[in-house]
């Protein structure tokens, strides 16, 4: 009697969460160290990006979906992009930034075109409205709802939440003061 195909594939369910954890943790730690040690500032920024993604993955693994997405949106999408723009636009010598190598235009164009074509192909092939699996999915049990309640519930974290708004106001006022151009110079 030949074993069925399914029994040939080892059951990874018990080890998978641990495996994913160690991969993500390793990614976070290694790239954080790389970010701290990198002699070129752009390399440090990319190390930081990998670390942010690793941490976001850890949050997702813990079931903190809201936190995980916020981590990506705020840190990778906001702070890191701002950081890279800031670095690139301050006009340092390219050698200091780690951009001394000639830019390979051809490769970049080829990679970009391939990605675009692949995505278009995927979008064209799929018909989300008729996918049966979508309607079979259970209602999402996300943490967003619970976090929203906890933050605005006076029995839980309303006081720290209100304090954070004062805190952000103070940060805005301070930042605006420190970076504003002198009036006589403008």
């Amino acid at each position: 009697m030949t074993p069925s195909l399914a029994s040939l594939i080892p059951d990874l369910t018990p080890v998978l969460p641990g495996l994913v954890f160690w991969v993500l943790a390793g990614l976070s730690v290694v790239s954080a160290v790389a970010a701290a040690m990198a002699p070129k500032i752009v390399h440090a920024a990319f190390g930081l990006m990998a670390a942010f993604f690793g941490v976001a993955g850890l949050y997702a693994l813990l079931g903190a979906d809201f936190l995980s997405l916020t981590q990506v949106v705020v840190y990778v999408g906001g702070i890191l992009v701002l950081l890279v723009f800031g670095v690139l636009l301050t006009g340092r010598a390219k050698a200091q930034l780690g951009l001394e190598k000639p830019v390979r235009v051809g490769g970049a164009v080829a990679a970009g075109t391939a990605l675009l074509l692949g995505l278009l192909l995927a979008i064209g092939k799929s018909d989300l409205s008729r996918s049966p699996w979508l309607s079979d999915l259970p209602e999402p049990q996300g943490t967003t709802h619970a976090i929203g309640r906890a933050l605005l519930d006076p029995e839980q974290y309303l006081l720290p939440f209100e304090l954070v708004s004062v805190f952000l106001l103070a940060a805005l006022v301070g930042a605006a003061y420190l970076v504003r151009r002198r009036r006589d110079a403008s």
Binding site: P154, L158, P160, G174, A175, L178, R182
Partner: protein, 498 residues
């Protein structure tokens, strides 16, 4: 929700926003006139609300507690805030912009301090502390065009971020170990299950984060540069408000997490933790102050030394097994905080007026023969220095006396703290030496030709704050019972509330 209980905080936040708005809308010729008044009056109103209104009870369903402890903290923050506005007013008058921002940030920082004594969980504690520190970074760098001020702001930012990271990581670890961020359930956890290694790690990291804030050795390296570089009113703020808030938090964390373990093996480990930090801070602060020629740096090192005395009181607090001695120790720390607050504010008022002459802070030039150039300033500085040294009948003596008294009390259950008492006594002797050097400079020397004009004109606001300072320094030294009683009530509330 008992919103009237947080009315003092609401008044101060509103005052801060009003200060920013009023200054923004003022015509260019009248910039900076209204902001100090708005800030001062808001703080005065909040002080009256706290002292006369005596708020009592909890709001936000137990997340904000108004008891004797939080009243003490809020009264120190708001009353001291009025003094800070008086010190700052002559300074901000010379600025061409940023008046509203200065007072707005000052008031926001004070709100953080006011709430430090009232919050009942680690989340609130962290947010309050961050509100205080992020405003401090901007205030330290407020003289943007001055390299030293920018350097002070940057150094404070880097060190502050590291210490906040320690604190937050500690909070997360404590939560992971004990499953709660509420003070009451954390204490119950320690009483029931003792210290697991994870909980000890988290508590240790929280304490290290707070040691950064109060510039305890070995986390002190930022203090001299930041104190020297920041505008003088901001230095006064950092050494008074910031430090008091740090010690209030240390008292809170110690009473919630460390005191319930008293008498066990882990309790003894915490005694050594506090004891080593206290003795290192005492010795380093007082020894390193001796060769300082710059008065602001001298006061910075002396403030490290004073953090050592307050840590001494905390060491006594965690060492003793006797609840009465424990209250004695907490009272001693609170009275010390109050006395140090009054003293350091007075000293920095003098420094602010003297440095307004534009001749720097060097002892042998700007302060030589100060009593001939301004008898009032020299006298105020004399009293402040004597109070810092703990000479009778000054306010500083009371704090030192109570701290040593609680160390003696704690020695009955933990004899090794006697060593700490001896280190503290050595610190007093060392500190007398460098304070007397500055007094000699002011009274026995002739004014230096590089020290600026022959007579120093003292602005009206500075006169008021110097007068309040002198009255408080001498008055508190002679008739200290009221402050002691209030502090004792606060200390009892600290242990009753957990």
């Amino acid at each position: 929700m008992n919103l009237h209980l947080i009315l003092p905080e609401i008044v101060v936040v509103a005052g801060g926003m009003l200060a920013v708005a009023v200054d923004l809308l003022a015509p260019a010729s009248r910039k900076g006139r209204a902001a100090p008044w708005v800030a001062g009056l808001a703080l005065l109103a909040a002080t009256l609300l706290v002292v006369l209104g005596r708020p009592e009870g909890t709001s936000f369903f137990g997340h904000h507690r108004s008891d004797a402890f939080s009243r003490f903290v809020r009264a120190v923050a708001t009353g001291g805030g009025v003094l800070l506005v008086l010190i700052s007013a002559p300074y901000t008058r010379r600025m061409d912009r940023g008046h509203g921002e200065f007072y707005g940030l000052l008031l926001f920082a004070l709100v953080g301090v006011m709430l430090v004594g009232a919050v009942t969980d680690l989340m609130g504690l962290f947010v309050c502390l961050e509100l205080l520190t992020i405003t401090s970074y901007v205030l330290a760098a407020f003289k943007r065009t001055d390299v030293r001020s920018a350097e002070a702001g940057l150094k404070y930012l880097v060190v502050g971020a590291v210490s906040s990271a320690f604190l937050l990581f500690g909070v997360a670890t404590v939560y992971g170990a004990a499953g709660s961020v509420e003070f009451a359930s954390l204490s119950a956890h320690v009483v029931g299950k003792g210290f697991s290694p994870l909980l000890a790690l988290g508590t240790g990291m929280m304490l290290v984060g707070l040691f950064f804030k109060v510039s305890a050795v070995p986390f002190h390296v930022w203090a001299p540069d930041v104190y020297q570089g920041a505008p003088t009113p901001v230095t006064a703020f950092l050494s008074s408000v910031s430090k008091s808030a740090g010690f209030v938090l240390l008292l809170r964390v110690a009473s919630v997490l460390v005191v319930p373990a008293a008498g066990t093996a882990s309790g003894d480990a915490w005694v050594s933790f506090f004891g080593v930090a206290a003795s290192l801070t005492l010795l380093y602060g007082n020894l390193a102050a001796i060769p300082q020629k710059d008065v602001k740096r001298l006061l910075a090192y002396s403030s490290i030394g004073h953090a050592g005395y307050m840590l001494l009181g905390l060491a006594a607090l965690v060492a003793t097994a006797d609840p009465t001695v424990r209250v004695d120790a907490a009272t001693a720390v609170l009275v010390y905080v109050f006395a140090y607050y009054v003293t350091t504010t007075t000293a920095f008022t003098v420094v602010a007026v003297v440095s307004a002459q534009g001749k720097g802070h060097r002892a042998e030039t700007a302060y030589a023969g100060l009593h001939r150039r301004s008898p009032l300033l020299a006298f105020a500085m004399l009293l402040a220095l004597l109070s810092l040294a703990g000479v009778p009948p000054m306010a500083g003596l009371i704090g030192k006396f109570l701290v040593f008294w609680s160390v003696v009390g704690a020695a009955q259950s933990h004899p090794s703290v006697v060593v700490l008492g001896l280190v503290g006594a050595l610190g007093v002797v060392l500190s007398l030496y460098y304070y007397l050097l500055l007094i000699r400079e002011m009274y026995a020397k002739d004014p230096s030709p590089e020290g600026g004009p022959a007579t120093i004109r003292v602005p009206a606001a500075a006169r008021v704050s110097v007068a309040i300072g002198i009255a408080a320094l001498v008055g508190l030294g002679i008739y200290w019972a009221p402050v002691y009683d209030v502090a004792r009530g606060a200390a009892e509330a600290l242990f009753a509330s957990r």
